[in-house]
Symmetry: C2
Subunit: 595 residues, 2 copies
């Protein structure tokens, strides 16, 4: 259980403040962004390796920033991808002119957000590349679909060490890709983890059982088995990992026995005794193993075993020195930030920061400020008031249903959907209110960007892109007719499908959105006013969202847990239908049948 | 909860095997003893710093062995002092000719066992000294009575760094003592920890409350308070620690925010944000702080804050490089065991060790073999059979009551009394059975030594010393009369009082033992046969043991929890009375009124 916090909604920001205050000799904050970089700053002419993802996994990701390892980390909320805006800002700040490698675990939210940031950095002439980590053999049969868990550590270390030796961006990318191709992990969980401010764990495991193939976001395992002794578990993990030994592996392996949070070191050593014996019996040459907590999952009980199959090149990088807040290896002379006293100024900053109001903290509201507000007609500015009312109504309904959205998300996901939407819509309404003088299109655009930057995860980035696409179509001059509104929504749905790579039937928000737009289009075509048409279409959306309970997820974090998901509706589809319903009520009130 | 184990009774041995298998590049096993030393071995002419205590606290103690830190660690069972024999063996193996410093937390069991080892090493001409750590301000008003918790880390590091710089034993002792004098810790616990094989935690905390002043052996805190926010807890810990700021402190402090096990890094950083702000506001210059798990307590939820007040000398030692399995700092060039591949032999050893039968493992049965068996008369050898029957009966009754003894020990202690007595008596009966041809006195001596070496904690060492003293008095020639038996028991009680520093009324096993001996003496004086007298005296002992529930503990681990202990009998007194009762039954059967 997570017990130490102040405001749960500010947990991530407080955590980053404290982390930088503790390890200012290693890292500093990326100015104006939710990320950290080495205290020594970016090195001109050197490739920068930037890792990241949600928080709750310490030492991953920010604890692994330092010489010989990552150059920087982008820090999302607990178990939630950082936004594209934040990844962009960190990438931009860390570019030393030789290119930037993003590396992170293969989760939809991260892929979308880092992907958007990569495009934007490339658009600015920065040679940005990406290697996603896919080490978890339990999560899919095809490697490309697998998620990244403790193997993150091996891939990041190889890339970081290579970059510090002066490798080019192409070389760093090649090495990271090879490291990922030769890294395999399998884990087991015994008990769930609890979010700050929550009293119930994200998932529970029958005390007599264990979940094989855990995720690091509280996803339950892919198979429930009887509890095993330490030796039986070691046998099982080694056996299944050896099946996936690469054909060209020469027998050398870096090995990690990773604790997830509350499975302690002594237990891991008991397991390691059997693991090392089994690996030795299989002729594996274990190089510099690490037994401890390297990629955690809050206070989850469980462990995972990672085999990082080495060749000469990877062996040298695995054993290369590293000096980060949470992990240090070998001779770091010349590279080590010595254990010197932080200056009085640093401490004073920490003190000031702690006392300062929330807005000065890790995630400044950069999105709204970065969006220029287009010139708008009087009519469009008037319509913007309705847009703001709609956003407020969406916020109200998500606030009301946050718990339910979290519950249904926790069945096969990480239970953060309600909180993410809440954070995103809070920021969106604030940004819309702040965009004084904007037209309807501009208001939707700033709201979308704020939602993407604060909502986190896949929902944030998808909703943000949708609102921006709708805003682009509606524009800031004319008041759109009903057909234009339908066209704008269709543009939003297309953007989501393209960005997320999903199609109807994959059990995503599209399964509520597309029926909604179709129904709205039909109603409008038959001459209904927008408000009345919207209300009826919202009913269709709600039914469609409920019917997603019959679907199997084909994409995203829920996919490995497809079977468990059946019987529960998709949280993204439900929140979309709730928002559509709330907007319908506003339209009836504001516009009646006028629009 | 501790979930990963094989045989709970072999948890410690499995853990040490796995630890050495994982970190063979740092440490190796002390041959024939339950301890580890640096892989590079003892350095001739250098002082050796040996730390230790029970296991369950990783990285303390074995994870802190390496250049710049400890030279070796003596490893006891979970939350249980290693035996004097093991401390002696490790000290002997690590002596490089310049002296040995023992350093460990101030707990009765450790003090007695390491103390006996120190005497024995000194007797062999090794300049062995001891500095106990007393950093926990919650555990007593007088510093000498305080227990050691996370401050262990600071004291060990100062001593280890000084020894590695070539300081003399007197210098290392002086520095360790100064480091301890300038180190203060206070902690809080939110939930208990669970022993391997147990399903219930050692103690529980009301979810709405927290225990201030936790111990690291599952001792509940000294005050129960409302749950606090992270900032409120930080304020409380800083405030109380600053009250104890040494008068000559110049404001520099090494600081540790330590996680106890399942309170995770992210939470600690949230607390650290407030801690660093408060320390800065108080003008404290925080040097190289560490936020993480350094001295744990299995999976206990909680954290502690340590202030290590530095002067120029201690500041240099605090920042000195170190390279151990669990903690690395600074430039370790030239001192670092590089991250090279463990040799195939090392792995083969691990494999063999894993497959080998239990007797080959960490704690060999050295005690029995090291005790020469005296020549014995036929009569004494006959009496030895009765002694063996008595030991078997004691083992049977402790086996039967193990759960109850653990429960009453957990009220104000660490709940290990039943298990410790069980392990000790198992080893004692085995050693007595193995001592073929020994007389009654010799059998008691080997049984006592085996009990001391395997029982762990204070009970093991006290019982062991008592049995040895009784054996010395009874000897191996004559069959003692009842008065001699009483005199032998009185000698045993005196030995316990001297070794443990306790007197009747302090709520220890003496409060059952002394009334028992007094009653036995009275009965015998009035002419009763030994068997009948013993049975009546055992009834007195049982009543006396039950009456200890009215006493306040004045010594040992239970002392800080004196109030909580009232209403519960002393587990040591209860087990003594149980054993006396069991022996009485044997005497009636074997000897009737004959003796």
């Amino acid at each position: 259980m997570t017990r130490l916090f102040n405001d749960p909604a500010r947990f991530r920001d407080d955590m980053v403040d404290g982390f930088v205050a503790a390890y200012g000799r290693y890292v500093s904050r990326v100015p104006g962004a939710s990320g950290v970089l080495r205290a020594s700053g970016p090195v001109p002419g050197k490739v920068s390796v930037i890792v990241g993802g949600g928080s709750g996994h310490y030492p991953a990701f920010c604890g692994l920033v330092g010489p010989g390892f990552a150059d920087g980390a982008v820090i999302g909320d607990i178990f939630t991808s950082p936004s594209a805006e934040q990844a962009y800002l960190v990438g931009k700040a860390l570019d030393g002119g030789a290119g930037v490698l993003f590396s992170y675990g293969n989760y939809n939210g991260d892929v979308m957000n880092f992907g958007l940031a990569e495009s934007r950095l490339r658009g600015e002439g920065i040679d940005c590349r990406t290697v996603v980590v896919t080490d978890d053999i339990a999560s899919a049969d095809t490697v490309e679909q697998r998620r990244g868990i403790a193997g993150d550590f091996c891939v990041f270390k190889a890339a970081g060490a290579a970059a510090d030796r002066g490798a080019s961006i192409a070389e760093v990318e090649r090495i990271a890709r090879k490291a990922n191709d030769r890294t395999r992990t399998l884990g087991a969980a015994f008990a769930g983890c609890t979010f700050p401010g929550k009293s119930e764990p994200l998932f529970t495991v029958d005390p007599a059982k264990m979940e094989l193939g855990l995720g690091i976001h509280g996803e339950p395992g892919v198979a429930t088995t009887e509890r095993l002794t330490a030796t039986e578990l070691a046998d099982l993990l080694v056996e299944r990992l050896l099946v996936e030994r690469p054909v060209d592996a020469d027998g050398r392996a870096g090995v990690i026995l990773n604790g997830l949070g509350s499975t302690k070191y002594e237990e891991l050593f008991v397991v390691w005794k059997a693991v090392s014996a089994r690996l030795a019996a299989a002729g594996i040459d274990v190089i510099s193993p690490e037994v401890g907590e390297l990629v955690t999952s809050l206070d989850m009980a469980g462990c995972s075993l990672t085999l990082h199959w080495l060749d000469d090149e990877l062996a040298e990088l695995w054993d290369a020195p590293a000096d980060t807040p949470a992990f240090r290896r070998g001779d770091v002379s010349g590279m080590a930030p010595r254990g010197v006293a932080p200056s009085r100024e640093t401490q004073a900053t920490a003190a000031t920061s702690a006392a300062a109001p929330p807005t000065s903290s890790a995630t400044p509201a950069v999105a709204a400020a970065s969006v220029p507000v287009a010139e708008a007609s009087v009519e469009s500015r008037e319509l913007a008031r309705t847009v703001r009312s709609c956003l407020a109504a969406m916020l109200a309904t998500v606030t009301e249903h946050e718990g339910h959205l979290g519950d249904i998300d926790a069945v096969a996901g990480d239970g953060d959907h309600g909180r993410g939407m809440l954070r995103g819509l809070r920021a969106a309404t604030q940004a819309a209110d702040d965009a004084d003088g904007a037209g309807a299109g501009g208001t939707l655009r700033v709201a979308g960007d704020a939602l993407a930057d604060n909502g986190g995860g896949s929902s944030g980035v998808l909703w943000g892109a949708m609102l921006r696409a709708i805003g682009d179509t509606i524009g800031d001059t004319d008041v759109p007719d009903a057909a234009t509104v339908v066209a704008a929504l269709r543009k939003g749905a297309d953007t989501i499908a393209e960005l997320g790579g999903a199609k109807p039937g994959d059990k995503t928000l599209l399964d509520a959105l597309v029926p909604f737009i179709d129904a709205l289009g039909d109603e409008v075509t038959t001459g209904a006013g927008l408000a009345a048409a919207w209300r009826r279409a919202a009913e269709v959306a709600m039914t469609a969202a409920e019917n997603t309970s019959q679907l199997r997820p084909n994409i995203g974090r829920a996919r490995p847990l497809a079977e468990k998901s059946i019987g529960t509706p998709d949280p993204g589809a439900v929140s979309l239908a709730l928002c559509a319903t709330a907007v319908g009520a506003v339209l009836v009130e504001d516009c009646g049948g006028e629009l």
